[in-house]
Symmetry: C2
Subunit: 620 residues, 2 copies
């Protein structure tokens, strides 16, 4: 991976920062958040502005360019990658380390007095704008909304915004019609005396309408906005997409069942003016719900007295708790996914000794095997296929210039997942195809202990996921080890592989309590820089637990693994496991053998079945 | 415990709420926070306004009275107690339960449109004012600062504000002179470009000046304010107290060593006008530090552009990390405290079968035995001495009308502590003097497992205490049990038994990371309403740990118990303990025997020594 040469680009950007075409007075700093006008985590090529200006293409990062400096904030997953992708013009700001200043503090320390800091108000979320605005103001600077994006101004061949075909999902996949979802939403609105709701998150809009798209790689979403009132539904989308008869039929555009379920369609770009018109006609008591993470631009259209910002919208909460149909779909998707992975691992075991398998070819093989499964749509994120030292680059993605050959001498980590029409998967396994070192086994075993501690945890109803994070770390901590990322994230159902409002992380306190039906990942790790990486990830479903007692009738919850792929016993130092932990491994492997074995048999994949049976033998 | 009859009082208060003597327009609700003008947790009798109006005397609670309603918010420790102390005029709002509305939500739900809600701005903290102000404004109501306290208006025989003698502490107790503390504070101020610092918390002022008082029972503090500039120190206190030559000498009032260490003294009440004068003379860049938990009244004196609110002051942080002298003092205090408790338990064992020991006489005996120890000053909080069902009232305090006799048939819980000149103690033991039931033993053992999980935890430097809270609950959760309070609080050194900024609780996320030298309690529990209560509390010191590895050179921490009182083996179901947990118990008991045994021997307390030796036998 060689860094992007950014000297000339930065020169042009700094020129634009002084160019009065864009604003009345020059700005002294320009903030380039990652994300798009919907605050998406994964973004379309036309929105990859932070990558374009810096070269760093990880999923999280914020660049700030001043007249003298260019700095990039990112988290522990990306320290190595960002370091490798950016040239000397850039300073890496390692978030989460004590010595790293916040963006605000850094700006205040480097800016001349009374500086102006610019940002595109469509890209920055309202809550981030607010914090940045406050911090800069208190230090005598000002934050300025720059309507023309300055990166676009120096990006001559910027790609077009995609507009892919919409896919309608029936009740057999969604469990609830979009009409019923609208009705539930309106009930919540009237309960809270809310008259309008503005949806800006792409996955929420896709979930609401039971529609999927392919505008953003890996995320089956499409560019749109929606504004729901008590009697109207306004849908903002590239209108060309609605010429498709199936989509028209699904949305009942030509023959709505009831007037209040009639959808009015508008061009994507007209959301701003339409929201302005709605706000101009608000009654004195009217309240508008908008997520506090929505864009600053759209949020500020709503007059403050009418604005009711919420950390999580009812759609986000509704989407997080999967219904029975979605759970069944997720289970099916994970069985298919396990079939593909068992085949992959059986194949790797055979092929690696020949020296012909690379990180890229292994990832390609995984995709090929997944694509043979029913209702496969695509991958759910770029496959992390990493050998030896690459495993320590937490979100490594193999490129031709970094591509390493799998051998019997190094640890192999593969973190991959797929979109199936019935569900989304995300699984990480760490394997050794020769003989792992004692240290590798020791670290693997601590990570496994952490994985089990979360997976087997029983906790009261109402517990927030962040309270479980330390369980995943206790065994590592006891040996002085740790990992610099959260333990789990929400997972969508044929939607984004990362979704809120639940998760398991020491970093989040605003998460919503875990509820039966929520689905999260459980993925502790350990990374030895320059040597190897270990991560063990299952997607798990929150289910009721029935412990001996029931304190104050609160009820208890636990997790049921949806991922059913064997965990390599060769990597375990079983002496470090307690009897309870060994029992957990044996029970997990029994279930893998039973459920995935039956499917392998049905699909006639004999070699993978033999591999599965061998890899799920009892440990003692 | 019979409830206070409050009908007439509430009638008078509601009349005052309509009385234009106090404001231009009547108010529809009046908030009565607990606490005083320093936001103290424990308060002097003259400040017990919430207790006066409601009867509920727990350490935490907020009352709100409207024209129709009177409601009291308190947390799980006090649900039973508040229920028993308040009459039918009051509604108990159980904080922490899902169905309980916040104060703001409740007000909004019960108030008529455009209501005015009053509060004494000296008693409400600035951050609470801000939240309440926002919430009420957004619902069309307003929050009004009522300068005359309306409770005082209906409280004819309200006690005087105390003004006890000041006690000066030398370097042998404090380790650092007040002059050096001022110098360190000023260095932090100039590092952050702060020109003034306003100290309002009584324990911070006591710590800063190495002075103690006795204005508030259990807390060795005195009513005062301090404003520190780069060259001046202004000390606001009842000036009569400074006629004492020892105090004058200690503060160098008559012969300051350097001009910038010269203390100007002012009457306690003049802090408001003096701060106004300071603020009137501020330069355009001058910044004033004040804790965001300081009173709204004093905070709002500082113009917003000059105000720099901080969650924890440098004094709070400095006080939390104990120096070597303070640690040595805390260790000595805990050894003396353990001597007293070993004697108490040996005595109880002998006396209980005679049927003459009650909750009150046991508490008195504990105090008597503590008072025999060197440098004893008083108790550090009201002793919780509770038998059987009273143990489930988390902060129960025996009263003549509730006083229960200790028997060999019920669990006994005693949570007690003392102030010694060298340190503060806080210890809880749960004992059975006959044969505990299997269920009592089971619960005790889960609590013990939680206590050990925290005490023995190894965690990276920089970890916040709230990340350890779940360790204390895991064993209880696994059986469907839990407790509705935090796991630990900071402990002062001959100061308040509860202090910030560290602690171990699921409820706090703004806590500061744990550091070597900090001292917290570790006190999980289990409470079976109407039957028994279990809590096991040690005060523990944060110390460096040396695990096998040292990830990213961060270093690790763990806890060293300062409390050295045996944990009753009779209450344990040792089969539920792992070998590691049994080892911890044995090592803890070995240390109790060694350290406290030597002191018991030195003091010639033979019976207690025999009891200690018997109670610290190995478990297997």
């Amino acid at each position: 991976m060689s860094p992007k040469i950014t000297g000339e680009l930065l020169r042009q950007l700094r020129q634009a920062m002084k160019n009065c075409k864009y604003f009345s007075e020059p700005i002294q700093a320009y903030i380039i958040p990652s994300g798009d006008a919907h605050q998406s985590e994964y973004i379309a090529p036309c929105d990859c502005r932070r990558e374009f200006i810096s070269g760093f293409d990880g999923s999280a990062g914020t660049a700030i360019v001043t007249e003298q400096h260019a700095a990039m904030w990112t988290d522990g997953r990306y320290f190595l990658q960002a370091h490798q992708q950016m040239d000397n013009n850039w300073t890496l700001m390692k978030m989460g380390l004590k010595e790293t200043p916040s963006q605000e503090d850094w700006l205040i320390s480097v800016l001349p007095e009374n500086s102006k800091v610019g940002v595109d108000p469509w890209i920055i979320a309202a809550d981030q704008w607010k914090n940045m605005f406050k911090a800069l103001s208190s230090a005598g600077h000002s934050l300025v909304a720059v309507q023309d994006n300055l990166i676009d101004a120096v990006w001559p061949d910027r790609p077009e915004r995609p507009s892919t075909q919409l896919r309608s999902l029936g009740l057999d996949f969604t469990g609830i019609s979009w009409q019923d979802k609208i009705t539930t939403l309106r009930a919540k609105m009237s309960e809270r005396k809310i008259t309008w709701f503005v949806a800006t998150a792409l996955d929420e809009i896709a979930w609401l309408f039971n529609l999927r798209g392919a505008d953003i790689e890996y995320n089956p979403v499409f560019f749109a906005y929606t504004i729901v009132g008590m009697n109207t539904i306004r849908f903002f989308v590239d209108l060309k997409r609605l010429s498709d008869p199936a989509a028209r039929e699904h949305l009942q555009l030509d023959s709505p069942s009831k007037p209040e379920l009639s959808i009015q369609t508008f061009p994507y770009e007209s959301v701003y003016t339409e929201l302005q018109a709605i706000c101009a006609a608000l009654g004195p008591k009217d309240k508008v719900w908008i997520c506090d993470k929505a864009s600053c631009a759209l949020t500020q259209v709503i007059p403050k007295t009418h604005r009711s910002p919420i950390p999580y919208t009812p759609l986000c909460l509704g989407k997080a708790v999967k219904n029975a149909t979605e759970i069944q779909g997720m289970k099916m998707a994970h069985i298919k996914d396990a079939v593909a992975l068992c085949e992959l691992f059986a194949w790797l075991e055979k092929e690696i000794p020949n020296g012909n398998v690379t990180e890229i070819s292994a990832a390609d093989k995984a995709e090929e095997l997944r694509s043979q499964q029913k209702d496969f749509v695509g991958l759910s994120f770029p496959t992390i296929s990493s050998v030896g030292p690459h495993g320590a680059i937490i979100h490594y993605r193999p490129l031709p210039e970094t591509n390493r050959t799998l051998t019997v001498n190094e640890v192999y980590l593969i973190d991959s997942g797929a979109q199936y029409v019935d569900g989304t998967t995300d699984v990480t396994r760490t394997m050794h195809f020769g003989t792992p070192s004692a240290f590798e086994k020791e670290c693997f075993t601590y990570v496994l202990k952490g994985h089990i501690a979360v997976s087997a945890a029983i906790f009261p109803n109402g517990t927030k996921g962040h309270l479980l994070d330390s369980f995943a770390r206790a065994a590592l901590w006891e040996s002085g080890l740790d990992y610099l990322h959260g333990t789990g994230h929400g997972v969508g159902c044929f939607l984004n592989v990362h979704e809120g409002p639940c998760g398991i992380s020491y970093k989040t306190f605003a998460d919503e309590p875990l509820e039966a039906g929520m689905i999260v990942s459980d993925e502790p790790g350990y990374y030895e820089d320059g040597s190897f990486g270990i991560r063990l990830e299952n997607v798990v479903l929150v289910v009721p637990a029935k412990p001996k007692y029931n304190y104050r009738n609160r009820g208890s919850l636990t997790f049921e693994p949806l991922t059913l792929v064997p965990i390599q016993v060769k990597m375990m130092n079983t002496e470090l496991l307690t009897q309870k932990e060994r029992d957990w491994v044996n029970e997990y492997h029994r279930k893998c053998r039973e459920v995935v074995g039956a499917e392998l048999e049905r699909q006639g994949r004999q070699e993978a079945l033999e591999w599965l049976i061998r890899e799920t033998q009892l440990i003692i």
